[in-house]
Assembly symmetry: C2
Homo-oligomer: 361 residues x 2
């Protein structure tokens, strides 16, 4: 694989799975591509020649069509959205501390990132081919094939979401051509939904009257009861992202000077929700202080927050939690939401800081 | 006030605030009007002569209009939706156990109910008068005037929600004329949002470019930080309903025969969320068993659930929690979400059952 800066933790190289350390995400509306997380299933990433790439649009449509990259860019207006992607397995390490999750990647806080994506609206493409009124779902297929299940990566989104103006077929990331490692020449970006629906190396769009029966929706990326094993249709397919938050700076375990310590982080709410408040506690949740919310780069972006804490010398555990626009708050403890595939760890964020008193000259 | 069946707990008579005992809600898709909760602010309920009632539609519209009840019913098609309403203060009693909430009604589990509402779509009325493209909100004003703030009840909903097909101007409840106590001749029903937005005794619809600055949105029905006092604009206006659930049968504190005990309840998720799973625990959340979900009467209705528990003789605390379609789960403890006005208690549901062993003949 490509080389990576020191801020990346590589969980596996084939398939390539890597995340930045939390501080690499701090204080930036947009995450540089060098520290944007990689979540892959196939051992080898597709390397697609843009000149020969074609997107097939078929299924329950009036006029099935195939678009070259040039035709796609020419026929449909380019729209841009600042969107936070987040893997459903983000923060899984906190669940593994509760009970082991063999075979699952122990994602820390960095399986999330925000970019400015630009491309065609999926809605414009769907309207161009004409959707059958009986259709309910849009199936998205990429070029990547993992050993299990041995078929191209396939998931779907409900037609209602597919027609929303924020869902893009993106050929650009942070104002540069979409990198091969992030799905070039064209990937889907489904704002507010788990990253697994934002299909990379897109090759086919199939309008249908049922959700995808593909492995990554019918078996994987599902919320299972605590005592269940994955099986087709067992549990519930994950979709919108539940309210979540994390501390991004200082690093977990950092040594800081006692006194005023700036603490920053992000919060994110998916689907129709926004983040309305972030609280920070230094007494494990007995009392809370409201953090200041920074401006949000877009409706579909994370929201950074900051607070100055007055830390005495010694060790303090800093806890953060976000509230969404329904008045929903993150659960306290990862044990409350442990599940057999280790998804949706949206329990309170916790980092430990070691404050050191200044020494007299 | 009217007389009430024994299943109603009356919190106050002027204004009239009353809720059913939980068992009155059990096992019914629709809540009979006799046991549907009453949440009022004005000491005296408006008694409106339908023959002289008129609905004014004004503000940022092309053609301001006034509709009589006859004109409204004649001009706009009737649509029906089964919708669960829920007061933002439902289950406040659980928050009061954490820390007192002086002056707030100690709602138990019954400030919620489901009815089949029928009337005109608000969207149809708005399209009829023509909405200014710069509009963002729809302000709704009722005829009820409380001592505080001394002005008619007024809130708003975002234009996007106001235009959704499920939002009704209802003149019918459970296939009968809307009762005076529930807002006759016409009330608003905003599915998936806190009951406070479903304005009763509707008199005026004003299209605007900002949310309502009325007391019930700018001061009351807001999520406040734990250390804050209500003040205009402080905190966050509540809107969609966070995932919630409760046990409806047996009653809290009930004596039941040891052995197999059927337990039933409801779960509800607001906004764009649905209920995907309900878990029940008899060991305070250490282990969980999935309950069976009953069919949902509509997209906007609560979802009943049931489970047979095997209870030994003695006292068992039954705990239930629901997960929504974003993988969000209810927080464990009311202390986690205590807030100064006592809203959104969506912590785990808990009832205590006393199982009595059968005696030998």
């Amino acid at each position: 694989m490509d080389t990576h800066p020191a801020e990346m933790t590589v969980h596996s190289s084939q398939p390539h799975n890597a995340e930045p350390v939390r501080t690499a995400l701090a204080g930036r509306d947009l995450t540089p591509v060098e520290v944007f997380y990689h979540r892959n299933h196939a051992a080898d990433l597709p390397r697609i020649d843009p000149a020969s790439w074609a997107l097939r649009v078929d299924g329950m449509v009036e006029r099935p069509a195939t678009f070259s990259l040039g035709a796609l860019r020419e026929r449909f207006a380019e729209h841009a959205e600042v969107v936070t992607l987040q893997c459903a397995g983000n923060r899984r390490a906190g669940l593994i501390e509760v009970a082991d999750l063999p075979g699952e990647i122990p994602w820390g806080p960095g399986a999330t990132g925000t970019a400015r994506w630009a491309g065609a609206r999926l809605a414009d493409v769907l309207r161009d081919v004409g959707v059958d009124p009986a259709a309910t779902d849009v199936v998205l297929t990429g070029a990547d094939v993992a050993d299990e299940p041995g078929e191209p990566y396939t998931v779907s989104v409900p037609l209602e979401k597919a027609l929303a103006s924020e869902v893009l077929l993106a050929w650009s990331m942070n104002d540069a051509a979409l990198p091969a490692a992030h799905g070039a020449p064209v990937r889907v970006v489904v704002p507010g939904w788990i990253g697994a629906r934002s299909v990379k190396w897109l090759e086919r769009i199939t309008v249908a009257d049922a959700p995808s029966s593909g492995f990554y929706q019918a078996v994987a990326y599902r919320l299972l009861p605590a005592d269940a094993s994955p099986a087709p249709g067992r549990g519930v397919a994950l979709g919108p992202i539940a309210v979540n938050a994390d501390v991004l700076s200082p690093a977990d375990g950092a040594e800081v000077p006692a006194g005023t310590v700036p603490v920053t982080g992000y919060a994110l709410a998916g689907g129709d929700r926004t983040v309305v408040r972030v609280d920070v506690s230094t007494d494990d949740g007995a009392t809370w202080t409201e953090a200041d919310l920074d401006p949000q780069a877009s409706r579909w972006s994370w929201r950074h927050w900051h607070i100055d804490l007055d830390l005495p010398a010694g060790t303090t555990r800093v806890v953060a939690r976000a509230w969404d626009s329904a008045g929903g708050v993150q659960p306290a403890d990862p044990a409350e939401l442990w599940n057999p595939k280790g998804y949706v760890n949206n329990s309170w964020a916790r980092v430990t800081l070691h404050a050191v008193a200044a020494r007299d000259g």
